[in-house]
Symmetry: C2
Subunit: 506 residues, 2 copies
């Protein structure tokens, strides 16, 4: 079978990409500083080899034969879906010169160290040249990929196929329309107390509790582990090894706890992909050249936001799990009940840092980044002017004056890793999470489980409708199959409106 | 320059092999158990890609051109040495089918997990099938590589080029002749007390002290790190990231301490290779397909044994460093002086476990393994009969009855990783260490340093004569250049004789 030979070849591509992810995980958790430069070369080589193996003449010969061999199968069969995806990926990569890919991977790995230092010192100027180089490479990339309306569309394709500057505009408008009145109304109300979250919480105990909750939500530590890093992430090397990371603030407990639940959502998406898809294109992002089973970055974010916010920040969750938390931190949480805790972890407070922002104002952080990225890419905004533009947007959306670039333009890891065009996924993930969670709760087992702190039914529902499919369906197909319609923001807005009305008495 | 193009191509081979080592490090220190199977595939793919890239038509075209381009340079120039090594490696690998390499890598990674479990349970039968498969693959390998006298010679070539069953016989005979009377004489003397080494030593403090000593000996932690593992090792991903591992017994302190000094010796060999050799064949084992800068495994072992034994177990070392050790463990070492400590860590006591054996009986462990491996490979010994043969050798050499396979045939990681033919290196390393250390001490700065706990002069002497050369010279050339002669066991025997005569009053 030529089809099987094609699969094995794609398995090798997956091996190379899993290796790349392994080196990336290490670079961000374990690697000594001296290793950065040669690690960048290793990462670049792995990506180039994966790309070259994918587009090689031999692959194309096998693909031609596999397509001929499977032509009589249904169009939506696994076999034909895989052939179509491989064909599409080859076409995509043949439009981008290998040298450009190599350069971007290299600047990406080197950039993370420059950024980490710049961020620590609040020194935007030292990061600016890397950012300029990253943008220029991405502009070149966009020209190679091609686009109809805006070069940014070409860059988003890798992360969120189908989304464009034009499709995002009405979505963002709808969100702004729903969010701004809520935030304003909340601003006039008394905020829940959060003082007890700022007491000293020992790092080890925080990690232990967070991991316990992650496991309760379905994270399988026989196929994963939790480590510390600067900018938390989830990463996988097949469904059999899916790792999460967190950072711990010993005087702001929610960071690590909800960060871990967030990465747990990403992790279960990977861990419960159909085992039959392991090492196949249905568990490999052949466009982004990344070993990931989720169908889009937005779909991936739907799972992280769902486990973090819809589950982890729900009243029901803390009704059942707060006792264990208080047993873990009896002194810090003395006199605090579950209700008070739940309100505290849902406090709305516009802030500077995206990853620390509350559920309600989060999308403003995303919208400003998407707008700025698009402007940087089309050249209407310069790297030199970026901090000022950033700060102006923060003022406009959140009403805040950014005191320094550490709290502003230097906060995100993304650009330092060579990535442009990924931010929209966060908001798409929020919207999708609302939609999927509303649908899941129509299932009686899921509801009963949430009401008794049994999260297996929810996880299984998500596995049935989302996780197991890997990349078999497009994001919109997945949503249609799971919920009967494409991306629809009303569920997300209803969730926010209901929760915050209750907490703030709106 | 075609030569430069060849170098860049070899740089990619190095990148792939460094990636392979990275995945191997992770598999042995960090990986969750579920990852084993797909990790094995990833490791196999990386090795196959490295091999294929090395032997590819394009590489051979570049090599032809590079050879032509450099033909007028001196025969021992870096350029011509590299061309010669690449040519030799291509010839070597073209004799071995890629499928065989792939199978061996795969059994190797899977085998480690089977072995770890078998070892834990003392269950040789569950490891035997993996060993049988490993041996059969290695026999096939030997036939492909070719040999004159014994198939084992072909397998040793990868680890210790030039050594054969025939060359080892006189060396082993000389060692046995020198060692047996010493061990016998010592057996009649009163052993130094070691009771205080068996007190509870907290793991964290042990690691901290061991790493402090490693740094003192020259280990650069900006380009390295120390982690825990089951079977300690050193591994590198270029000289810029050289990692060591140890295992800690909280009731037998010397294990982790001297184990760490041992790996430190390996690590400094890699860390102080000429930076100009980074990613070149002079820092890549193109025969073994392993990213390592040392010229042979024996040469590598010379550095680990030198730092562990000649430095770390010397009276001088503890005269200066014991104060710090006692400050670290004031209760455990109360009433123990440096002299008593030094004698304790040099106690001779024939035992079952190679990695726990004393300096004097160590070579018996090696000689028995080399003999058994050679017999397993030529078929004169079966896998089923191995435990019995093992136990008989232990009785013959060490006078001990092996109580179970955990303390016998299952103790080493080597076979589980697919390796056969590597053991001789340990003894060659011991012999070389004695020879190099004797030569180094002729240097006044080195002697003055050792006498004042300043180890930079020794490390620099080794860097000058050993480390920096990477794989530029053969082991024998290296020894000739450093000491004026090839491998010569008398220095090693003199060192052992002098030290143990002093300790045991022979």
């Amino acid at each position: 079978m030529k089809y099987n030979a094609l699969l094995e070849r794609m398995g090798e591509v997956n091996d190379l990409l899993c290796s790349q992810s392994m080196l990336d995980w290490d670079a961000r958790t374990m690697m000594p500083p001296g290793g950065a430069h040669t690690r960048a070369k290793q990462l670049a080589t792995l990506k180039v080899f994966a790309r070259n193996h994918l587009v090689a003449d031999e692959t194309r010969r096998l693909l031609d034969a596999a397509e001929a061999e499977t032509v009589n199968l249904p169009g939506d069969s696994v076999e034909r879906t895989i052939c179509t995806q491989v064909r599409e990926a080859i076409d995509y990569h043949l439009r981008i010169p290998a040298a450009l890919v190599h350069k971007r991977t290299e600047i990406g790995s080197k950039g993370q160290h420059v950024w980490a230092k710049a961020r620590q010192e609040g020194d935007y100027a030292s990061f600016a040249p890397v950012l300029e180089e990253t943008l220029e490479l991405n502009r070149e990339m966009a020209e190679c990929i091609g686009y109809e309306a805006h070069p940014y569309d070409a860059l988003m394709y890798r992360f969120e196929p189908g989304e464009t500057v034009a499709t995002l505009q009405p979505l963002f408008a709808a969100l702004r329309g729903g969010l701004l009145p809520l935030v304003q109304a909340i601003g006039e109300k008394k905020a829940p107390r959060v003082d007890f979250l700022q007491r000293p919480f020992p790092v080890e105990k925080q990690l232990e509790f967070a991991l316990k909750m992650a496991r309760k939500l379905g994270y399988d530590t026989d196929r994963g582990r939790l480590d510390l890093t600067v900018h938390p992430f989830e990463i996988s090397f097949t469904r059999n090894d899916v790792r999460i990371t967190t950072r711990v603030n010993d005087e702001w407990m929610p960071k690590s706890l909800f960060g871990t639940l967030h990465e747990t959502g990403h992790a279960v998406y990977e861990q419960y992909c159909d085992p039959a898809y392991t090492r196949t294109p249905l568990a490999t992002d052949l466009i982004g050249l990344y070993a990931v089973g989720g169908v889009s970055f937005g779909a991936h974010e739907s799972q992280s936001r769902l486990f973090e916010n819809h589950v982890g920040r729900s009243r029901e969750f803390w009704e059942h799990n707060y006792g264990e938390l208080r047993d873990t931190f009896p002194e810090q949480l003395a006199g605090i009940d579950a209700e008070t805790f739940w309100r505290a972890v849902n406090r709305v407070e516009p802030g500077f840092i995206r990853v620390e922002s509350d559920e309600l104002t989060y999308d403003f952080h995303i919208m400003l980044r998407v707008d700025l990225e698009a402007s940087l890419i089309d050249g209407s905004l310069s790297v030199a002017d970026l901090p000022e533009a950033w700060n102006a947007k923060v003022k406009e959306y959140l009403g805040l004056d950014v005191p320094n670039d550490r709290l502003g333009v230097l906060q995100d890891v993304h650009w330092s890793s060579g990535q442009v065009g990924t931010f929209c996924n966060y908001t798409i993930g929020n919207v999708m999470a609302g939609q999927l969670f509303a649908e899941a709760k129509k299932d009686e087992r899921v509801r009963a489980g949430l009401a008794t702190a049994e999260y297996a039914p929810l996880r299984e529902w998500m596995t049935e409708h989302v996780h197991r499919h890997g990349r078999r369906y497009t994001r919109e197909q997945l949503l249609e199959r799971a919920t009967g319609q494409g991306l629809e923001p009303s569920f997300y807005m209803e969730h926010l409106s209901a929760k915050y009305s209750e907490i703030y008495g709106l």
